[in-house]
């Protein structure tokens, strides 16, 4: 029992912390938003430190194998919790100015982070579903947190309805998988999902496809991306910054884990689906973003495209592939948060502006902000020597090592097309006549965050090895975990 509780310590800290802050918010006289915000950041830091302390431990499971803690889970949890904390820091000023500052916001984000931790460590279909729902339900609420705005409530409703649909698909797939494997545990599912003569039985494929569809929705991979642009545009910008970062990390983490452990033997059935998702996401992300005028909508298509690039490494289905996905997602989250630190600073005295044309001539009026945004755009486009280039490099190298040549070629072409709209923003900022639309100064915490992210993106190539090593280790652990499943399979077969 004690081991169970030790392993879920990060989630317990988040959950108990959220309840404590809820009490503080509900019972304190006057406005407690600031206190609760600071408390939430402290709790996230504590949870990240606790999760990080598991990084070097061997893999351990709790609650009869429903919850697993290993280096992979530790790394992804640290990244997710830190991203959530940064999203809270960035939201403070924006929420105050937009008169949306409420103590429930950080509390909901803490609960969402607990859900993400549960997702990352899920080793069982029920645990997976519980984590996804805990996260999603909190996200639906924060999407609609500006309840007096039609667009925000529409975003919340749209996200909720489509999210419920995707949960339904996921559950249907999970019930089929349970029905045809006799267990909800990933390791036991791996033993039951065995292709016969290179073909998986039809009913198992059906369950797998439904599960994949539900998970693809959570990371907004095409063709399950429809909600993304509307939700990103409608939700308050600070909420969008959060949506684009931590939940994507957690979604990708559970996607990797379930495919690499639960369905490692059924690779023939899912690899082609991942390849298709990757191609469609990269192409749509590249082409649909070209015509966008709203920078939040553009970031939505950008995030769809980046999910496609991450899925390229995923499709390789090797230890190098997994580690490249982890690295890519880490760099993506840093770049996204850095970009949103700049987008959150796009303000006039009358309120926030979000059109791309509002950025015209920013290099003359706000040189620091323009420089940060330009670095982020170069990096998102994948231009060396920015960090984004190395993310793409590792992902494509893994795909080529796995023999996925056409996928890599399509990916590189999509990346070239995508570079167009990123560079257009740089051109608007540096070459157009100043429009003087953004005339409020950049808030201090945002400029510090943007500066740190920019420095990281610029200087990543100088000393990339710590992060690469961590990702390699986590990737090896996840694939080794598959080995454990193979051993169990052999025992299973010997028993018959």
């Amino acid at each position: 029992m004690l081991q169970n509780l030790t392993l879920i310590l990060p989630e317990m800290i988040l959950f108990l912390g959220a309840m404590g802050l809820l009490m503080i918010g509900a019972f304190s006289k006057g406005d407690s938003t600031r206190t609760v915000n600071l408390g939430a950041i402290a709790i996230l830091a504590l949870a990240a430190a606790t999760a990080g302390s598991f990084a070097n431990n061997a893999q351990a499971t709790a609650f009869n194998g429903a919850f697993v803690m290993d280096s992979f889970a530790a790394l992804m949890k640290v990244l997710t919790f830190v991203a959530t904390g940064i999203a809270i820091i960035m939201s403070q000023g924006y929420m105050r100015l937009e008169k949306l500052a409420r103590f429930e916001y950080p509390v909901l984000l803490l609960l969402a982070a607990a859900g993400m931790g549960m997702m990352i460590s899920a080793n069982d279909l029920i645990a997976l579903y519980m984590g996804i729902e805990l996260q999603s339900l909190a996200l639906y609420v924060v999407a609609a947190i500006n309840r007096d705005s039609l667009r925000s409530t529409e975003a919340g409703l749209k996200y909720f309805v489509l999210g419920a649909l995707s949960s339904g698909m996921l559950l249907y797939g999970a019930s089929l998988i349970y029905g045809f494997s006799g267990s909800t545990n990933f390791v036991e599912i791996a033993a039951a999902f065995q292709p016969q003569d290179g073909i998986l039985p039809m009913a198992q494929v059906l369950g797998l496809v439904f599960l994949l569809a539900g998970l693809a929705f959570k990371i907004s991979a095409v063709p399950f991306h429809m909600w993304t642009p509307d939700v990103y545009e409608g939700a308050p910008t600070s909420v969008t910054a959060f949506f684009a970062s931590a939940p994507k990390l957690a979604g990708m983490a559970i996607f990797l884990r379930i495919m690499m452990t639960g369905f490692e033997n059924a690779l023939v059935a899912w690899q082609q689906i991942i390849i298709l998702l990757a191609i469609l996401s990269m192409v749509l992300g590249a082409f649909a973003a070209i015509g966008q005028q709203n920078i939040k909508r553009l970031m939505a298509y950008s995030s769809i495209g980046h999910m496609g690039f991450a899925l390229v490494g995923f499709a390789a289905a090797s230890a190098a592939g997994v580690s490249s996905v982890i690295l890519y997602m880490t760099l993506y989250v840093v770049m996204t948060l850095g970009t949103f630190a700049c987008i959150l600073s796009m303000r006039q005295d009358s309120g926030p502006v979000e059109r791309i044309s509002d950025l015209a001539g920013l290099s003359q009026t706000r040189p620091f902000m323009a420089f940060c945004l330009a670095v982020m755009m170069f990096s998102l486009a994948g231009i060396p020597p920015m960090a984004g280039f190395f993310g793409k490099l590792f992902v494509f190298r893994a795909a080529i090592d796995a023999g996925l040549y056409s996928l890599s070629i399509i990916g590189v072409l999509a990346s070239v097309v995508g570079a167009f709209y990123y560079l257009r923003i740089v051109k608007v900022m540096y070459l157009d006549a100043p429009a003087d639309e953004v005339n409020e100064p950049m808030p201090r915490e945002l400029s510090i965050l943007a500066g740190v992210m920019t420095a990281f993106t610029l200087l990543f190539f100088v000393y990339p090895s710590p992060l690469v090593e961590l990702a390699d280790k986590a990737g090896a652990v996840l694939m080794q975990d598959g080995m454990v499943a193979t051993d169990m399979l052999q025992e299973h077969l010997a028993g018959h």
Binding site: I126, V141, H496
Partner: protein, 201 residues
């Protein structure tokens, strides 16, 4: 055996007939009442299957809470349901087609299941002569505590969400002041007025 069959056919027939009435009756209140009848008969079917805990839950949750909630909503919202269901016959063919396709697909899936590799034997509904409720109680707070607590956390988020999205902080909250209520006397509340006939107050 015959008694069980008889009970099955009784419950099944009433369930199908009353669920048909749910979608065909013109009065929405009747629909909800027929829905309750359907739930009861489904609960009867669960008892026949040996799943008495599910039967109990179905009656307690669906009849006791959900159906009554529906009834309140139907009564409080002034919706002209007759107008809403006018196009029923018009949409019937396409609805029937969709239903047929779904049915065929389901048959296909379950047909495929028979050709499947050796699956594990299904777990027993009543292991070691325990009742369902006892069997569930033994694992729900022990083996499944993690899922149970996670479900609780999800409900907490749902509650916070409902409050965040609907509560309007009021400057003049209507609170009950029990002291003022009990201190109130007949003299404070009632005034006797002599009204002259034909003059009013």
């Amino acid at each position: 055996m015959t008694l069980t069959s008889l009970a099955f056919y009784l419950f099944a027939t009433v369930a199908v007939a009353s669920s048909f009435m749910v979608i065909s009756s013109r009065n929405p209140v009747y629909s909800v009442l027929f829905l309750i009848l359907t739930f009861f008969n489904a609960a009867g079917l669960f008892v026949l299957l040996g799943a008495e805990f599910l039967a109990l839950i179905l009656v307690v949750v669906y009849v006791g809470a959900v159906a009554v909630l529906f009834l309140f909503v139907v009564m409080m919202l002034d919706i002209d349901f007759a107008e809403l269901s006018e196009g029923f016959l018009q949409y019937m063919p396409i609805g029937a087609t969709v239903g047929l396709i779904l049915l065929l697909e389901l048959l296909l899936v379950f047909g495929a299941s028979s050709t499947l590799i050796d699956t594990k034997p299904l777990p027993q509904a009543t292991p070691d002569g325990m009742t369902n409720a006892e069997a569930l109680g033994r694992v729900l707070y022990t083996d499944y505590i993690y899922f149970f607590q996670a479900a609780g956390a999800i409900l907490l988020v749902a509650m916070i969400g409902a409050i965040v999205l609907t509560l309007v902080p009021s400057n003049n909250p209507k609170k009950q002041n029990i002291a003022a209520q009990t201190a109130r006397t007949r003299d404070d509340a009632v005034e006797t007025v002599d009204v002259e006939p034909g003059q009013g107050i």
